[in-house]
């Protein structure tokens, strides 16, 4: 053992005598550690949420290839009423080349 090491060994009990007792120190540190753990957990959670949200947003809005089966373009429901109201559309007639199958008359 070197001289310096012997010296530090002699000094350590003195330093330990000056430090507060272990139990007292632990009781002061415990709440701090708990808050630290909570903060770490909170920050981790927030980072994960932001990361997940960003990924989801990017996937949903990225103008690349479709990430889900594509659906055919559909007419908005509100247009259906307009189309349904357009009742007056033409059929198709042609000159007759055979005797009649039926007749139309006043109903």
């Amino acid at each position: 053992m070197s001289h310096a090491k012997r010296q530090r060994k002699k000094q350590r009990p003195a330093a330990e005598r000056q430090a507060p007792p272990v139990q007292e120190r632990d009781s002061r540190l415990a709440p701090v550690r708990r808050r630290t753990r909570l903060a770490k957990f909170g920050v981790g959670l927030a980072v994960s949420a932001v990361f997940g949200g960003s990924i989801a947003l990017a996937r949903a809005t990225y103008a690349g290839h479709a990430k889900h089966p594509s659906r055919p373009l559909a007419v908005p429901k509100s247009f259906y009423s307009v189309i349904r109201e357009n009742l007056l559309q033409n059929g198709i007639l042609a000159p007759a080349q055979a005797p009649p199958d039926a007749q139309t008359s006043s109903s």
């Binding site: 007056l88 033409n90 059929g91 000159p95 005797p99 199958d101 039926a102 139309t104 008359s105 109903s107």
Partner: protein, 286 residues
């Protein structure tokens, strides 16, 4: 096309062509069910329940709501000419029972009952009609039922009811005025005052009511025949053409419809679309 099947429903003869036995049965059931729901002459019909509601809002069947929506759309499309609120006016003119039982009556007609279109409200399946209003959806129901019945036929065929006809795969049809045309696709409907007519107090009456006066319309036309994409549309346009009197041909021309008007002297007026489609354009032989 297989044989024709005939039955009576909605106060007229229905002819079904091109349907299998199962399809014929389904079509007949459809007509009977619609008649039970929408007839003015069946006491327990849903229509009569609503007509008796005296202005109270009522929850109606989905089918009734859809039919009323179509009737209101028809009124909107024709500027109020084809109006579902003229039930009281038809009754006032004397058409208060099935047509087969209708006879001439020396009593004068009851006071006129003009349109009350603005007092009918439809929100989803809730209907509210003003007190005293009697709905008559007969024309719309018959046209729509013919269209729906045609969809029940898998192959080519046609449905004819009371003179209105819808085809799938084409049919040759004789029309008032003596012409014969080939209906390639869609439907032909005829409205007029030559058949459903009777008299009250010595005055001739018919079932096509002028919504402004609440009386049977005075029209120079004996019949108006229209070709439409659907029987419902053709029937609505034919009624509108009749009610517009002298302006009928011009209006149907503007709508771009193929239509033919026959007046009281049996003279025929046709729209451009009718003439173009029905006249032969064969090249002369050289």
């Amino acid at each position: 096309m297989t044989g024709k099947h005939r039955f009576c429903a909605m106060g007229c003869e229905v002819i079904v062509a091109g349907a299998t036995a199962r399809e014929r049965l389904e079509i007949e059931r459809l007509f009977v069910a619609r008649e039970r729901r929408f007839s003015r002459f069946i006491a327990g019909s849903e229509l009569n329940r609503i007509n008796g509601a005296a202005g109270r809002p009522l929850l109606v069947s989905r089918e009734f709501a859809e039919m009323l929506e179509l009737a209101l759309a028809a009124a909107s499309q024709t500027g109020g000419l084809v109006d579902p609120t003229l039930g009281r006016a038809v009754e006032a003119a004397g058409y208060d029972q099935d047509f087969t039982g209708l006879t001439d009556d020396p009593r004068p007609p009851e006071p006129a009952a003009p349109s009350a279109l603005g007092s009918v409200r439809l929100a989803g399946r809730v209907v509210q009609a003003g007190a005293g209003i009697r709905l008559d959806l007969n024309g719309v129901v018959k046209g729509k039922t013919i269209d729906d019945a045609l969809r029940l036929i898998d192959g080519d065929g046609f449905i004819s009811a009371g003179g209105d006809i819808a085809v799938s795969g084409g049919a040759v049809v004789s029309v008032p005025g003596g012409a014969v045309v080939r209906l390639v696709t869609g439907a032909l409907a005829t409205s007029g005052q030559d058949r459903r007519r009777w008299s009250r107090g010595g005055e001739p009456q018919h079932h096509l009511i002028d919504p402004c006066t609440g009386r049977p319309a005075r029209s120079p036309w004996q019949t108006v025949t229209v070709c439409g994409a659907t029987c419902l549309g053709a029937d609505i346009a034919a009624k509108a053409g009749f009610l517009l009197a002298e302006r009928g041909p011009q209006q149907l021309e503007e709508w771009g419809l193929a239509a033919q008007f026959v007046d009281m002297r049996d003279d025929v007026v046709a729209t451009r679309a009718w003439r173009l489609q029905t006249e032969s354009h064969e090249a002369p032989c050289t």
